[in-house]
C-alpha cells in the first residue's frame, strides 16, 4: 500500500479501484445511527491548512473522526505561520507530536512533496497550488461511477481554466488510469500546449489497450458536448482578465459557459459536475447548477466517503 497520496499519479488502476470500492462501503455508514467505526482509534490526523478552505477541511475532519482518529486542526491564520515560521519548522513540530497522517493544503505547488521529506507519517495532499488535488479526483470518479455505473470508456469533458487548475490535473491523471477518456476545453490561453504529454497515464489501461487515453484538447465547447457522458466545469476567476487570459467575463461565459441551451446538447444520460465553489453566471448558470443532471451536492457527501477510504487505506494496515 502506498504511504503518501500526493498526486493522482501515485495510484495505479488497482489501488484506485480499491479506494472507490472502499468508499462505497464507507458511504453506507452515513445511513446508520452510530456514524462511527473504531478502525483508526489511537491514530492522530493533523489538518494542516495554509489556505482557507472550510469545506475541504471539514470533510477531512469528518472522515477522520468517523474512523475514531484524533484530529488536530492547524490553520495558518493567527498561528506561528503568520509570524513567519517556515513549513519545515512546522513540520518538525508535527513530527514531534507524532502525527500518523498530515493532510496539507498549501498555496505552493509541491508543498506535500517537501513535507513528506520532513515527517515520518503519511502525507495527504488536500490541494497544493496549481499542482494537484487527488482526493477531489477520487470523489469525482466515485460520483461518476455511482451515477453512470462505470468509468472504463467514459467520455469526460473538463472545461475552464485548466492551466491553473489542480482539480483538472488530478482528474486527467486518475480518469486516464481508470480507462476514461478526457477532453480538455477552454480558451488556448488557459490550456498549456503540452498538457496531454505532461499528464500521460502512469500505466496502460486495464487489458493493455493502446494508449488512446491521452487527453484531447478542444477550443470549441459546442462541438464537444454531444459526445460527452460527463461535463465537469472548473471555476474561472474573473481576476484572470487582468493578466489577459481572456478579454472579459462576458466573452468568457459566452464562449465557454454552460447554460441551459448548451446543457440540452448533452446526451440524455450525461451529468454535470463542478468541484466548487461556483461562480454562478460565469462558468455555469444557476439553472444548470440546480438541475437534476447536476451532481454538485452529492459530490460533497461523496467527499467524506472518499476521504474515509483514503485514510483507511493509508493508515489502516501495517505502518
Amino acid at each position: 500500500m502506498i504511504k503518501h497520496l500526493r498526486s493522482a499519479a501515485d495510484l495505479d488502476a488497482a489501488t484506485a479501484t480499491l479506494i472507490l470500492d472502499t468508499a462505497a462501503e464507507m458511504a453506507a455508514l452515513a445511513g446508520r445511527e452510530v456514524k462511527k467505526l473504531p478502525t483508526l482509534r489511537g491514530r492522530t490526523v493533523v489538518n494542516l491548512f495554509y489556505e482557507d478552505s472550510t469545506r475541504t477541511r471539514i470533510s477531512f475532519e469528518a472522515a477522520a473522526k468517523r474512523l475514531s482518529a484524533d484530529v488536530i486542526n492547524f490553520s495558518a491564520k493567527g498561528s506561528s505561520v503568520s509570524k513567519g515560521e517556515s513549513l519545515k519548522d512546522t513540520a518538525l513540530t508535527l513530527q514531534a507530536m507524532g502525527a500518523d497522517a498530515v493532510v496539507i493544503r498549501h498555496s505552493a505547488s509541491g508543498a506535500p512533496h517537501r513535507l513528506a521529506s520532513w515527517v515520518d507519517g503519511s502525507v495527504i495532499n488536500a490541494g497544493d497550488g496549481t499542482h494537484e488535488h487527488p482526493t477531489q479526483a477520487l470523489l469525482d470518479a466515485y460520483t461518476m461511477r455511482s451515477r453512470l455505473g462505470r468509468l472504463d470508456g467514459l467520455r469526460v469533458a473538463i472545461v475552464g481554466d485548466v492551466l491553473h487548475s489542480r482539480v483538472a490535473r488530478s482528474n486527467v491523471l486518475l480518469l486516464s488510469t481508470l480507462g476514461a477518456s478526457v477532453t480538455l476545453v477552454g480558451p488556448p490561453t488557459l490550456i498549456p500546449v503540452d498538457i496531454a504529454a505532461a499528464l500521460e497515464p502512469a500505466e496502460p489501461t486495464r487489458g493493455g489497450k493502446p494508449k488512446e487515453t491521452s487527453a484531447k484538447v478542444s477550443y470549441d465547447l459546442d462541438s464537444v458536448l454531444p459526445d460527452m457522458d460527463v461535463v465537469m466545469m472548473l471555476r474561472v476567476q474573473t481576476e484572470r482578465m487582468q493578466d489577459s487570459f481572456f478579454p472579459s467575463a462576458r466573452e468568457y461565459s459566452r464562449r465557454y459557459g454552460l447554460d441551459l441551451a448548451r446543457m440540452r446538447k448533452l446526451p440524455e444520460h450525461a451529468i454535470v459536475m463542478h468541484p466548487g465553489p461556483m461562480n454562478r453566471g460565469m462558468e455555469i448558470t444557476p439553472e444548470v447548477a440546480d438541475s437534476s443532471r447536476s451532481t454538485i451536492v452529492e459530490q460533497v457527501a461523496n467527499g467524506v466517503s472518499a476521504r474515509m477510504a483514503v485514510l483507511y487505506l493509508l493508515l489502516g494496515g501495517k505502518a
Binding site: E25, R32, P38, T39, Y312, G316, G317
Partner: protein, 186 residues
Amino acid sequence: MASPRADTTIRIILTGSDLHRVVDRIAHQILEKTSGATGTVLLGIPTRGVPLAQRLAARIHAFEGIDVPVGSLDITLYRDDLRLHATRALGKTELPGGGIDGRRVILVDDVLFSGRTVRAALDALNDVGRPSSVQLAVLVDRGHRQLPIRADYVGKNIPTALSESVRVSLTETDGLDEVKLTGGSL
C-alpha cells in the same frame, strides 16, 4: 498458494454430500431452537459466511416454507489485528430490509477459531442496531479459543493442532463443496 510440502498431510473432513447434510442439520436445529425462526435474521460474515447464510435460509424455506431474511456483515473495520497486516479490502455489508433492531440475529461463519472474528462482529452489530439477542452458527469449530466465545450451532467439531489449517471450499466461492484439514507436523 505454496505447494504442499512432502510431509504435509491433507485430510478431507467433509465431502460435498457431508457438507449438505451438515447444513440441513443446522437448519433443522435453528428451526427447533428458535421455535420456527420467528423474528430471526441470518447475517453471514464475508467471505464464506455469506453463501452459508443463504443456504441455511434456502433449506429453512424448503423444510417449512418460512422466509428468513438474509444479509451480510463485514467486520474488517472492527478487527483488532489490522496493524499486523497490509491494509485489507472490505467485504460487503448489506442488512436485510427491516433491519436488525429487536430481532434475533444469527451470525453465520465458516470456521470458529480464536473467536476474534466473532468479537469484531459483535462490535459491528452494536453500531448497526440493537438486536434482541445474538446467536452464532458455524460450519466448523476447530478449537483454540482466545476469547470466551461459543457457537450455538456447530456443523462439525474438529480438534486441530495450531500448525494445521482448516480449508472450507464452497461452490459459490471456490467451485466445489469440501472441508479439508491440511498441515504437517512441526
